[in-house]
Protein backbone atom coordinates (compact mmCIF):
# COMPACT_ATOMS: atom_id res chain seq x y z
CA UNK A 1 0.00 0.00 0.00
CA UNK A 2 1.22 3.47 -0.91
CA UNK A 3 0.27 6.21 1.52
CA UNK A 4 0.12 9.85 0.53
CA UNK A 5 0.03 11.84 3.75
CA UNK A 6 -0.80 15.54 3.77
CA UNK A 7 1.24 16.27 0.66
CA UNK A 8 1.45 19.86 -0.59
CA UNK A 9 3.46 21.18 -3.49
CA UNK A 10 4.34 24.81 -3.99
CA UNK A 11 6.38 25.71 -7.06
CA UNK A 12 9.33 28.13 -6.87
CA UNK A 13 7.17 30.81 -8.53
CA UNK A 14 4.81 30.66 -5.56
CA UNK A 15 1.95 28.71 -7.17
CA UNK A 16 0.36 26.24 -4.80
CA UNK A 17 -0.31 23.25 -7.05
CA UNK A 18 -1.38 20.70 -4.45
CA UNK A 19 -2.89 21.40 -1.06
CA UNK A 20 -2.86 18.75 1.66
CA UNK A 21 -3.46 15.67 -0.44
CA UNK A 22 -4.01 12.46 1.51
CA UNK A 23 -4.80 9.15 -0.13
CA UNK A 24 -4.07 5.44 0.12
CA UNK A 25 -3.47 3.29 -2.92
CA UNK A 26 -4.06 -0.42 -2.37
CA UNK A 27 -2.19 -3.01 -4.35
CA UNK A 28 -3.98 -3.95 -7.56
CA UNK A 29 -6.20 -0.87 -7.73
CA UNK A 30 -6.76 1.09 -10.92
CA UNK A 31 -7.02 4.66 -9.74
CA UNK A 32 -8.05 7.51 -11.99
CA UNK A 33 -7.06 11.03 -10.99
CA UNK A 34 -9.85 13.05 -12.54
CA UNK A 35 -9.95 16.81 -12.65
CA UNK A 36 -9.84 19.92 -14.81
CA UNK A 37 -6.65 21.18 -16.44
CA UNK A 38 -4.26 22.76 -13.98
CA UNK A 39 -5.62 20.97 -10.90
CA UNK A 40 -2.24 19.44 -10.14
CA UNK A 41 -3.01 15.84 -11.10
CA UNK A 42 0.14 15.56 -13.23
CA UNK A 43 2.13 17.09 -10.38
CA UNK A 44 0.76 14.46 -8.00
CA UNK A 45 1.82 11.78 -10.49
CA UNK A 46 5.35 13.21 -10.67
CA UNK A 47 5.50 13.26 -6.87
CA UNK A 48 4.43 9.61 -6.79
CA UNK A 49 7.19 8.81 -9.29
CA UNK A 50 9.74 10.62 -7.17
CA UNK A 51 10.52 12.99 -10.03
CA UNK A 52 9.68 15.86 -7.71
CA UNK A 53 9.75 16.30 -3.95
CA UNK A 54 6.70 17.44 -1.98
CA UNK A 55 7.00 20.84 -0.28
CA UNK A 56 5.43 19.31 2.81
CA UNK A 57 3.89 16.00 3.80
CA UNK A 58 5.23 12.66 2.67
CA UNK A 59 4.67 9.68 0.42
CA UNK A 60 5.28 6.30 2.02
CA UNK A 61 6.15 3.13 0.15
CA UNK A 62 6.39 -0.41 1.47
CA UNK A 63 9.66 -0.80 -0.47
CA UNK A 64 10.90 1.05 -3.49
CA UNK A 65 13.60 0.03 -5.91
CA UNK A 66 14.63 1.22 -9.34
CA UNK A 67 12.20 -0.42 -11.76
CA UNK A 68 9.29 -0.51 -9.33
CA UNK A 69 7.68 2.38 -11.15
CA UNK A 70 6.66 2.48 -14.78
CA UNK A 71 5.78 5.84 -16.24
CA UNK A 72 3.82 6.53 -19.42
CA UNK A 73 3.90 10.11 -20.62
CA UNK A 74 1.33 12.09 -22.56
CA UNK A 75 3.40 11.60 -25.71
CA UNK A 76 4.91 8.26 -26.59
CA UNK A 77 8.42 9.77 -26.16
CA UNK A 78 10.15 6.99 -28.07
CA UNK A 79 13.67 7.36 -29.34
CA UNK A 80 13.30 7.62 -33.13
CA UNK A 81 16.68 6.01 -33.80
CA UNK A 82 15.79 2.81 -31.92
CA UNK A 83 13.47 0.00 -33.02
CA UNK A 84 10.36 -0.77 -30.98
CA UNK A 85 12.17 -3.65 -29.25
CA UNK A 86 15.20 -1.45 -28.46
CA UNK A 87 12.89 1.21 -27.00
CA UNK A 88 11.20 -1.38 -24.81
CA UNK A 89 14.58 -2.82 -23.80
CA UNK A 90 15.81 0.61 -22.65
CA UNK A 91 14.74 0.53 -18.97
CA UNK A 92 16.40 -2.87 -18.56
CA UNK A 93 19.49 -1.73 -20.42
CA UNK A 94 19.86 1.24 -18.06
CA UNK A 95 19.96 -1.22 -15.19
CA UNK A 96 22.81 -3.15 -16.78
CA UNK A 97 20.79 -6.06 -18.15
CA UNK A 98 21.99 -7.67 -21.36
CA UNK A 99 19.98 -7.83 -24.56
CA UNK A 100 20.18 -11.61 -24.70
CA UNK A 101 18.95 -12.33 -21.17
CA UNK A 102 16.01 -9.91 -21.48
CA UNK A 103 14.90 -10.71 -25.00
CA UNK A 104 11.98 -12.92 -23.89
CA UNK A 105 10.77 -10.21 -21.48
CA UNK A 106 10.98 -7.55 -24.20
CA UNK A 107 9.08 -9.67 -26.69
CA UNK A 108 6.50 -10.60 -24.05
CA UNK A 109 5.94 -6.92 -23.23
CA UNK A 110 5.46 -6.13 -26.93
CA UNK A 111 3.09 -9.09 -27.28
CA UNK A 112 1.12 -7.84 -24.29
CA UNK A 113 0.26 -4.66 -26.22
CA UNK A 114 -0.30 -6.56 -29.48
CA UNK A 115 2.87 -5.49 -31.25
CA UNK A 116 4.80 -8.77 -31.36
CA UNK A 117 5.29 -8.46 -35.12
CA UNK A 118 6.60 -4.90 -34.94
CA UNK A 119 9.65 -5.55 -32.76
CA UNK A 120 12.08 -4.36 -35.43
CA UNK A 121 10.04 -1.39 -36.66
CA UNK A 122 11.34 2.13 -36.07
CA UNK A 123 8.89 4.64 -34.55
CA UNK A 124 8.70 6.58 -37.85
CA UNK A 125 6.84 3.67 -39.42
CA UNK A 126 4.34 3.26 -36.56
CA UNK A 127 1.00 5.03 -36.12
CA UNK A 128 0.27 7.24 -33.10
CA UNK A 129 -1.63 4.48 -31.36
CA UNK A 130 1.13 1.94 -32.02
CA UNK A 131 3.77 4.32 -30.64
CA UNK A 132 1.71 4.67 -27.48
CA UNK A 133 1.50 0.88 -27.26
CA UNK A 134 5.29 0.66 -27.47
CA UNK A 135 5.49 3.28 -24.75
CA UNK A 136 3.20 1.19 -22.54
CA UNK A 137 5.24 -1.94 -23.28
CA UNK A 138 8.36 -0.02 -22.23
CA UNK A 139 6.70 0.79 -18.91
CA UNK A 140 5.52 -2.80 -18.40
CA UNK A 141 8.76 -4.55 -19.31
CA UNK A 142 10.27 -4.29 -15.86
CA UNK A 143 7.06 -5.62 -14.26
CA UNK A 144 6.58 -2.48 -12.18
CA UNK A 145 4.65 -2.53 -8.92
CA UNK A 146 3.14 0.81 -9.82
CA UNK A 147 2.28 2.06 -13.28
CA UNK A 148 1.83 5.83 -13.55
CA UNK A 149 0.12 7.19 -16.66
CA UNK A 150 -0.19 10.87 -17.50
CA UNK A 151 -3.11 11.33 -19.93
CA UNK A 152 -1.53 8.82 -22.29
CA UNK A 153 -4.48 8.62 -24.70
CA UNK A 154 -5.38 12.32 -24.84
CA UNK A 155 -3.70 12.89 -28.21
CA UNK A 156 -5.17 9.85 -29.96
CA UNK A 157 -8.25 9.68 -32.16
CA UNK A 158 -11.37 8.24 -30.59
CA UNK A 159 -11.28 4.81 -32.28
CA UNK A 160 -7.68 4.26 -31.26
CA UNK A 161 -8.40 5.57 -27.78
CA UNK A 162 -11.31 3.16 -27.24
CA UNK A 163 -9.17 0.24 -28.36
CA UNK A 164 -6.23 1.20 -26.18
CA UNK A 165 -8.49 1.77 -23.18
CA UNK A 166 -9.97 -1.71 -23.61
CA UNK A 167 -6.51 -3.24 -24.00
CA UNK A 168 -5.09 -1.38 -21.00
CA UNK A 169 -8.02 -2.46 -18.85
CA UNK A 170 -7.36 -6.02 -19.95
CA UNK A 171 -3.64 -5.75 -19.13
CA UNK A 172 -4.56 -4.46 -15.69
CA UNK A 173 -6.99 -7.32 -15.08
CA UNK A 174 -4.42 -9.85 -16.21
CA UNK A 175 -1.36 -8.51 -14.37
CA UNK A 176 -2.93 -6.90 -11.32
CA UNK A 177 -0.44 -4.02 -11.53
CA UNK A 178 -1.42 -1.00 -9.48
CA UNK A 179 -2.18 1.81 -11.91
CA UNK A 180 -2.59 5.52 -11.29
CA UNK A 181 -4.02 7.15 -14.38
CA UNK A 182 -4.35 10.90 -14.86
CA UNK A 183 -7.21 12.01 -17.08
CA UNK A 184 -9.58 14.90 -17.63
CA UNK A 185 -12.12 12.66 -19.33
CA UNK A 186 -15.05 11.53 -17.19
CA UNK A 187 -15.81 8.70 -19.63
CA UNK A 188 -12.24 7.45 -19.58
CA UNK A 189 -12.12 7.47 -15.79
CA UNK A 190 -15.49 5.73 -15.51
CA UNK A 191 -14.53 3.03 -17.99
CA UNK A 192 -11.00 2.29 -16.78
CA UNK A 193 -10.80 2.81 -13.07
CA UNK A 194 -11.70 0.76 -10.05
CA UNK A 195 -11.58 3.97 -7.99
CA UNK A 196 -11.72 7.61 -9.01
CA UNK A 197 -10.19 10.51 -7.08
CA UNK A 198 -11.91 13.70 -8.21
CA UNK A 199 -9.67 16.72 -7.78
CA UNK A 200 -10.67 20.34 -7.39
CA UNK A 201 -9.17 23.17 -9.47
CA UNK A 202 -5.98 24.82 -8.25
CA UNK A 203 -4.86 24.41 -5.59
CA UNK A 204 -5.53 20.70 -6.11
CA UNK A 205 -7.38 18.92 -3.34
CA UNK A 206 -9.07 15.53 -3.30
CA UNK A 207 -12.70 16.56 -3.58
CA UNK A 208 -14.17 13.08 -3.76
CA UNK A 209 -13.01 9.48 -3.57
CA UNK A 210 -15.43 7.20 -5.39
CA UNK A 211 -15.20 3.44 -5.80
CA UNK A 212 -16.49 2.04 -9.07
CA UNK A 213 -19.17 -0.64 -9.08
CA UNK A 214 -19.29 -0.99 -12.85
CA UNK A 215 -19.38 -4.68 -13.76
CA UNK A 216 -16.51 -6.13 -15.77
CA UNK A 217 -17.21 -7.57 -19.19
CA UNK A 218 -17.62 -6.71 -22.84
CA UNK A 219 -20.72 -4.60 -22.13
CA UNK A 220 -18.82 -2.39 -19.71
CA UNK A 221 -18.97 0.72 -21.85
CA UNK A 222 -22.71 0.55 -22.42
CA UNK A 223 -23.98 -0.97 -19.16
CA UNK A 224 -26.46 0.95 -17.03
CA UNK A 225 -24.14 1.08 -14.03
CA UNK A 226 -21.44 2.65 -16.26
CA UNK A 227 -23.87 5.38 -17.32
CA UNK A 228 -24.84 5.92 -13.71
CA UNK A 229 -21.16 6.17 -12.72
CA UNK A 230 -20.53 8.75 -15.46
CA UNK A 231 -23.44 10.78 -14.10
CA UNK A 232 -22.14 10.50 -10.55
CA UNK A 233 -18.69 11.73 -11.64
CA UNK A 234 -20.19 14.58 -13.68
CA UNK A 235 -22.28 15.71 -10.74
CA UNK A 236 -19.27 15.61 -8.45
CA UNK A 237 -17.15 17.59 -10.88
CA UNK A 238 -19.93 20.17 -11.29
CA UNK A 239 -19.93 20.67 -7.55
CA UNK A 240 -16.17 21.24 -7.30
CA UNK A 241 -15.94 23.54 -10.30
CA UNK A 242 -16.42 27.22 -9.54
CA UNK A 243 -19.45 28.76 -11.21
Amino acid sequence: MIVVDGVSKRFPNGTLALDQISARFQEGEFIALLGPSGCGKSTLLRLLAGLEEPSSGQIMWPTKNVGDIGFVFQDATLMPWMSAAENVFLPLRLRGKSRAETKPAVLAALAQVGLAEFADAKPASLSGGMKMRVSIARALVSAPKLLLMDEPFAALDEFTRFKLQADLHEVWRRTGTTIVFVTHSIYEAAYLASRVLVMSPRPGRVAADIVSHVAEGPERRTAADYTAFVKQLSDTLRQVMPA
Binding site: A49, G50, L51, V66, G67, I69, F71, F73, Q74, D75, T77, M79, P80, W81, L90, P91, R93, L94, R95, A121, K122, A124, S125, S142
Partner: protein, 254 residues
Protein backbone atom coordinates in the same frame (compact mmCIF):
# COMPACT_ATOMS: atom_id res chain seq x y z
CA UNK B 1 5.44 21.59 -63.06
CA UNK B 2 7.50 18.81 -64.50
CA UNK B 3 10.25 17.83 -62.07
CA UNK B 4 12.86 17.68 -64.83
CA UNK B 5 12.12 21.19 -65.98
CA UNK B 6 12.63 22.28 -62.36
CA UNK B 7 15.94 20.40 -62.16
CA UNK B 8 17.24 21.84 -65.39
CA UNK B 9 16.04 25.39 -64.65
CA UNK B 10 19.09 26.59 -62.65
CA UNK B 11 21.50 25.28 -65.29
CA UNK B 12 19.51 26.83 -68.13
CA UNK B 13 19.37 30.10 -66.23
CA UNK B 14 23.13 29.98 -65.61
CA UNK B 15 23.82 29.21 -69.26
CA UNK B 16 21.61 32.11 -70.30
CA UNK B 17 23.52 34.45 -67.96
CA UNK B 18 26.87 33.20 -69.25
CA UNK B 19 25.75 33.70 -72.86
CA UNK B 20 24.63 37.27 -72.16
CA UNK B 21 27.95 37.90 -70.37
CA UNK B 22 29.96 36.49 -73.26
CA UNK B 23 27.80 38.38 -75.75
CA UNK B 24 28.37 41.70 -73.98
CA UNK B 25 32.13 41.10 -73.73
CA UNK B 26 32.30 40.38 -77.46
CA UNK B 27 29.80 43.01 -78.54
CA UNK B 28 31.23 45.86 -76.46
CA UNK B 29 34.83 44.67 -76.99
CA UNK B 30 35.59 44.75 -73.25
CA UNK B 31 39.32 44.07 -72.73
CA UNK B 32 40.06 40.81 -70.87
CA UNK B 33 41.98 42.64 -68.11
CA UNK B 34 38.77 44.52 -67.21
CA UNK B 35 36.25 41.72 -67.58
CA UNK B 36 37.10 38.43 -69.23
CA UNK B 37 34.29 36.45 -70.83
CA UNK B 38 33.47 32.85 -69.81
CA UNK B 39 35.35 31.55 -72.86
CA UNK B 40 38.56 33.30 -71.74
CA UNK B 41 38.11 31.99 -68.22
CA UNK B 42 37.71 28.39 -69.35
CA UNK B 43 40.71 28.92 -71.62
CA UNK B 44 42.78 30.21 -68.70
CA UNK B 45 41.85 27.16 -66.64
CA UNK B 46 42.77 24.75 -69.45
CA UNK B 47 46.06 26.56 -69.97
CA UNK B 48 47.05 26.35 -66.31
CA UNK B 49 45.04 23.51 -64.82
CA UNK B 50 47.95 21.72 -63.13
CA UNK B 51 48.87 24.73 -60.99
CA UNK B 52 45.26 25.68 -60.28
CA UNK B 53 44.26 22.12 -59.33
CA UNK B 54 47.26 21.85 -57.00
CA UNK B 55 46.21 25.14 -55.41
CA UNK B 56 42.64 23.89 -55.04
CA UNK B 57 43.90 20.72 -53.36
CA UNK B 58 45.99 22.78 -50.97
CA UNK B 59 43.02 24.98 -50.04
CA UNK B 60 40.76 21.95 -49.62
CA UNK B 61 43.33 20.28 -47.35
CA UNK B 62 43.31 23.34 -45.09
CA UNK B 63 39.50 23.46 -45.25
CA UNK B 64 38.99 19.83 -44.26
CA UNK B 65 41.61 19.97 -41.53
CA UNK B 66 39.88 23.05 -40.12
CA UNK B 67 36.51 21.32 -40.39
CA UNK B 68 37.76 18.29 -38.47
CA UNK B 69 39.32 20.49 -35.79
CA UNK B 70 36.14 22.63 -35.65
CA UNK B 71 33.90 19.59 -35.25
CA UNK B 72 36.08 18.14 -32.49
CA UNK B 73 36.51 21.43 -30.68
CA UNK B 74 32.87 22.46 -31.14
CA UNK B 75 31.51 19.17 -29.79
CA UNK B 76 33.99 19.12 -26.89
CA UNK B 77 33.10 22.66 -25.83
CA UNK B 78 29.38 22.01 -26.29
CA UNK B 79 29.68 18.94 -24.04
CA UNK B 80 31.50 20.97 -21.40
CA UNK B 81 28.79 23.64 -21.61
CA UNK B 82 26.04 21.04 -21.31
CA UNK B 83 27.75 19.37 -18.36
CA UNK B 84 28.23 22.43 -16.20
CA UNK B 85 26.66 25.86 -15.98
CA UNK B 86 29.99 27.24 -14.82
CA UNK B 87 31.66 26.02 -18.00
CA UNK B 88 28.81 27.47 -20.04
CA UNK B 89 29.18 30.86 -18.37
CA UNK B 90 32.94 30.76 -18.85
CA UNK B 91 33.02 29.61 -22.48
CA UNK B 92 30.05 31.30 -24.13
CA UNK B 93 31.27 34.93 -24.21
CA UNK B 94 34.67 33.90 -25.55
CA UNK B 95 33.13 31.84 -28.30
CA UNK B 96 31.06 34.84 -29.32
CA UNK B 97 34.08 37.16 -29.19
CA UNK B 98 36.04 34.81 -31.44
CA UNK B 99 33.06 34.62 -33.77
CA UNK B 100 32.58 38.38 -34.14
CA UNK B 101 36.28 39.28 -34.43
CA UNK B 102 37.13 39.63 -38.13
CA UNK B 103 39.65 36.93 -38.90
CA UNK B 104 41.38 39.26 -41.39
CA UNK B 105 42.37 41.41 -38.44
CA UNK B 106 43.94 38.65 -36.38
CA UNK B 107 45.26 36.41 -39.16
CA UNK B 108 48.62 38.27 -39.46
CA UNK B 109 49.22 37.72 -35.74
CA UNK B 110 48.30 34.07 -35.93
CA UNK B 111 50.59 33.59 -38.90
CA UNK B 112 53.43 35.10 -36.87
CA UNK B 113 52.61 33.12 -33.71
CA UNK B 114 52.08 29.77 -35.40
CA UNK B 115 55.38 29.16 -37.11
CA UNK B 116 54.19 26.40 -39.35
CA UNK B 117 52.24 28.00 -42.28
CA UNK B 118 49.86 25.08 -42.83
CA UNK B 119 48.76 25.04 -39.20
CA UNK B 120 48.51 28.82 -39.13
CA UNK B 121 45.98 28.59 -41.96
CA UNK B 122 44.11 25.80 -40.18
CA UNK B 123 43.91 27.87 -36.98
CA UNK B 124 42.49 30.86 -38.87
CA UNK B 125 39.95 28.74 -40.72
CA UNK B 126 38.97 27.01 -37.48
CA UNK B 127 38.32 30.33 -35.75
CA UNK B 128 35.86 31.17 -38.52
CA UNK B 129 34.30 27.73 -38.75
CA UNK B 130 33.88 26.28 -35.28
CA UNK B 131 31.07 28.47 -33.99
CA UNK B 132 28.11 26.90 -35.86
CA UNK B 133 29.12 23.41 -34.70
CA UNK B 134 29.47 24.66 -31.14
CA UNK B 135 26.23 26.61 -30.97
CA UNK B 136 24.17 24.00 -32.83
CA UNK B 137 25.50 21.08 -30.79
CA UNK B 138 24.98 23.04 -27.57
CA UNK B 139 21.40 23.81 -28.64
CA UNK B 140 20.86 20.14 -29.50
CA UNK B 141 22.19 18.95 -26.16
CA UNK B 142 19.99 21.48 -24.37
CA UNK B 143 16.92 20.41 -26.34
CA UNK B 144 16.87 16.79 -25.12
CA UNK B 145 13.18 15.92 -24.61
CA UNK B 146 12.38 16.47 -20.94
CA UNK B 147 10.16 13.39 -20.67
CA UNK B 148 12.98 11.16 -21.87
CA UNK B 149 15.34 12.70 -19.32
CA UNK B 150 12.71 11.88 -16.66
CA UNK B 151 12.46 8.34 -17.99
CA UNK B 152 16.22 7.91 -17.69
CA UNK B 153 16.14 9.30 -14.16
CA UNK B 154 13.33 6.97 -13.13
CA UNK B 155 15.36 4.02 -14.30
CA UNK B 156 18.44 5.07 -12.39
CA UNK B 157 20.53 5.98 -15.45
CA UNK B 158 24.04 7.27 -14.85
CA UNK B 159 25.17 10.57 -16.37
CA UNK B 160 27.29 8.62 -18.83
CA UNK B 161 24.32 6.47 -19.96
CA UNK B 162 22.16 9.57 -20.33
CA UNK B 163 24.84 11.21 -22.45
CA UNK B 164 25.64 8.28 -24.72
CA UNK B 165 22.18 6.75 -25.10
CA UNK B 166 20.09 9.90 -25.12
CA UNK B 167 21.67 13.33 -25.28
CA UNK B 168 24.28 12.72 -28.00
CA UNK B 169 21.99 10.84 -30.39
CA UNK B 170 19.24 13.43 -29.81
CA UNK B 171 21.71 16.20 -30.67
CA UNK B 172 23.02 14.52 -33.84
CA UNK B 173 20.67 16.30 -36.30
CA UNK B 174 21.61 19.66 -34.74
CA UNK B 175 25.32 18.83 -34.98
CA UNK B 176 25.01 17.84 -38.64
CA UNK B 177 23.16 21.06 -39.48
CA UNK B 178 25.94 23.01 -37.76
CA UNK B 179 28.63 21.04 -39.54
CA UNK B 180 27.11 21.93 -42.89
CA UNK B 181 27.36 25.65 -42.15
CA UNK B 182 30.86 25.19 -40.73
CA UNK B 183 31.97 23.43 -43.92
CA UNK B 184 31.45 26.47 -46.10
CA UNK B 185 32.79 28.80 -43.40
CA UNK B 186 35.96 26.72 -43.16
CA UNK B 187 36.53 27.35 -46.87
CA UNK B 188 35.94 31.08 -46.40
CA UNK B 189 38.30 31.09 -43.41
CA UNK B 190 40.97 29.18 -45.32
CA UNK B 191 40.77 31.61 -48.24
CA UNK B 192 40.95 34.69 -45.99
CA UNK B 193 43.98 33.25 -44.19
CA UNK B 194 45.63 32.37 -47.50
CA UNK B 195 45.16 35.95 -48.68
CA UNK B 196 46.92 37.29 -45.62
CA UNK B 197 49.64 34.65 -45.72
CA UNK B 198 49.95 35.00 -49.50
CA UNK B 199 50.55 38.73 -49.34
CA UNK B 200 53.34 37.84 -46.90
CA UNK B 201 54.93 35.59 -49.51
CA UNK B 202 53.59 32.18 -48.49
CA UNK B 203 52.78 30.57 -51.82
CA UNK B 204 49.92 28.12 -51.49
CA UNK B 205 46.23 27.75 -52.15
CA UNK B 206 43.74 29.29 -54.51
CA UNK B 207 43.70 32.62 -52.70
CA UNK B 208 47.41 33.00 -53.35
CA UNK B 209 46.83 32.21 -57.02
CA UNK B 210 44.10 34.85 -57.13
CA UNK B 211 46.49 37.42 -55.61
CA UNK B 212 49.29 36.40 -57.96
CA UNK B 213 47.07 36.58 -61.04
CA UNK B 214 45.86 39.99 -59.89
CA UNK B 215 49.42 41.30 -59.58
CA UNK B 216 50.24 40.02 -63.06
CA UNK B 217 46.97 41.28 -64.54
CA UNK B 218 46.08 37.71 -65.57
CA UNK B 219 42.42 38.47 -64.96
CA UNK B 220 40.98 35.38 -66.76
CA UNK B 221 43.19 33.18 -64.59
CA UNK B 222 42.01 35.04 -61.50
CA UNK B 223 38.42 34.37 -62.51
CA UNK B 224 39.23 30.72 -63.14
CA UNK B 225 40.53 30.42 -59.57
CA UNK B 226 37.41 32.19 -58.29
CA UNK B 227 35.15 29.80 -60.17
CA UNK B 228 37.03 26.84 -58.68
CA UNK B 229 36.50 28.29 -55.19
CA UNK B 230 32.79 28.79 -55.76
CA UNK B 231 32.44 25.25 -57.08
CA UNK B 232 34.40 23.87 -54.12
CA UNK B 233 32.09 25.71 -51.72
CA UNK B 234 29.00 24.34 -53.41
CA UNK B 235 30.45 20.85 -53.45
CA UNK B 236 31.25 20.99 -49.73
CA UNK B 237 27.77 22.30 -48.88
CA UNK B 238 26.11 19.70 -51.08
CA UNK B 239 28.24 16.80 -49.85
CA UNK B 240 27.69 17.60 -46.17
CA UNK B 241 23.96 17.93 -46.80
CA UNK B 242 23.91 14.57 -48.53
CA UNK B 243 25.91 12.88 -45.76
CA UNK B 244 23.57 14.33 -43.16
CA UNK B 245 20.43 13.20 -45.00
CA UNK B 246 21.72 9.70 -45.62
CA UNK B 247 22.96 9.28 -42.06
CA UNK B 248 19.71 10.42 -40.45
CA UNK B 249 17.54 8.51 -42.88
CA UNK B 250 19.52 5.35 -42.27
CA UNK B 251 19.30 5.82 -38.54
CA UNK B 252 15.65 6.79 -38.13
CA UNK B 253 13.91 5.04 -41.01
CA UNK B 254 12.31 1.68 -40.56
Amino acid sequence: MNIWVERIAPFAFGLLGLSIWQGCVWGLQVPAYVLPGPVDIVGAYIGDYAVLNAALLSTLTVTFSALVVSATLGVALALAMAASNLARAAIQPWAVILQVTPVVAIAPLIIIWVNQPFWALVVCATIVAFFPVLSNTAAGLAATPKDLLDLFRLNGATRWQTLVLLRLPAALPYFLAGLRISGTLALVGAVVAEFVAGSGGFASGLAYRILEAGYRLQIPRMFAALVLLAMAGMAIYGALGLVSRLLLRRRDAA
